[in-house]
Symmetry: C2
Subunit: 218 residues, 2 copies
């Protein structure tokens, strides 16, 4: 397993033990997550926007309207920080200050590249669709040339990335373990409910099995 | 219902119809969410970090080690952007490019204030704990003066905030509604599983009911 690149930005100052330095952990988080939070600077102000994404190899693709503020800023070369967080559980300790959450998060730094090559744009659109539901691209109407051209696609290299996780039981102060207070973890997961048909759905169609399978789909 | 403040930063340029301009919608998102993504600028670089939080009235509280990079930056007056996103469903359209997600998100801009008043710090710690599990603060060992002093607490005013949501079925192109492709929404929710006892739990203790209740707890 290749180590994640370590730079002044991705080095974890406070909790170095929480850093995971293999790329498979990074990929697993990005593939299991559905939305990322994209940070960029507008004037002197940080802006954090949630959006979908897709990973292909060592690239993370973002997309949207070419007129969106985020796409314009990133397409013009503004430094970006893209964070994906999976919330795995509530950590209930015996003392208030040791309450916490179990999670896995990935933070990627870099400058995005505006994707101009048509083939790469189509590949990114395929990945966005299959990221929402595996195999979906092959089941739906694929975009025509006009639609491919109307979507701005950005690629962010995963070279400068860090992974941070917390798992396991709470960590209480030694003397607090004797307290008669329940402590432990309440696992959390993003669970799909029964699909809701589109009001204009043709008769006799059923949802794809992959859409209702338990996540993670990675 | 009071309108959210509208500034150049919070005005939604692309999808003004997606803006929700009442404070109860903002509060509901912040109260249902468990983690926020905090954006700040370090050098020229945006940084986006996931963390817990708590809301009290028109204030959002953050906390952590006084030595953490985020707490130091925000405590020194760096502009912040705090975003909370609730993922409500996968939106499966008949065409690839109309795939989307249903969500509710809140974006708050401002400069955080370092909370020095002890009473306000304790109130914020109470809110962090009760935000994880309602009523938890009164069931656990509450922090002593040393613990209250060792935690950095920041307050961010909710004055400059915007809410954006998507809900409902996919929006396909008119001619695509005739295609024999399933379309609709797969609802998603963060669901708690059975609590896992701490390995050092005393005998005879059971988890608090509120920890296993379906979220949202708002």
């Amino acid at each position: 397993m290749e180590a994640l690149g370590s730079t002044a930005r991705t080095r974890l100052h406070r909790v170095p033990k929480a850093a995971v330095t293999d790329r498979s952990a990074l990929h697993a988080i990005l593939d299991e997550g559905l939305i990322c939070h994209v940070g960029f600077v507008s004037g002197d102000t940080p802006v954090v926007i949630p959006t979908g994404y897709g990973r292909v190899g060592e690239l993370l693709y973002l997309h949207g309207s070419p007129a969106s503020r985020m796409l314009r800023a990133l397409g013009a070369g503004a430094p970006a920080c893209v964070t994906v967080t999976l919330l795995d559980g509530l950590v209930l300790a015996r003392s208030a200050v040791h309450h916490s959450m179990n999670y896995r998060s990935a933070v990627v730094f870099g400058q995005a590249r505006l994707v101009t090559d048509t083939e790469e744009r189509v590949e990114a659109l395929r990945r966005f669709t299959d990221h929402i539901v595996p195999g979906r691209w092959d089941q739906v109407r694929q975009p025509d040339a006009r639609e491919v051209g109307a979507t701005a696609v950005l690629a962010l290299d995963l070279q400068e990335a860090s992974v941070k996780t917390r798992s396991g039981p709470p960590k209480d102060d030694d003397e607090d373990y004797a307290l008669p207070i329940w402590a432990g973890v309440v696992p959390l997961a993003l669970i799909p409910a029964a699909p809701v048909d589109d009001p204009r759905l043709l008769l006799g169609l059923t949802p794809p099995l992959a859409a209702t399978a338990p996540r993670p789909h990675a």
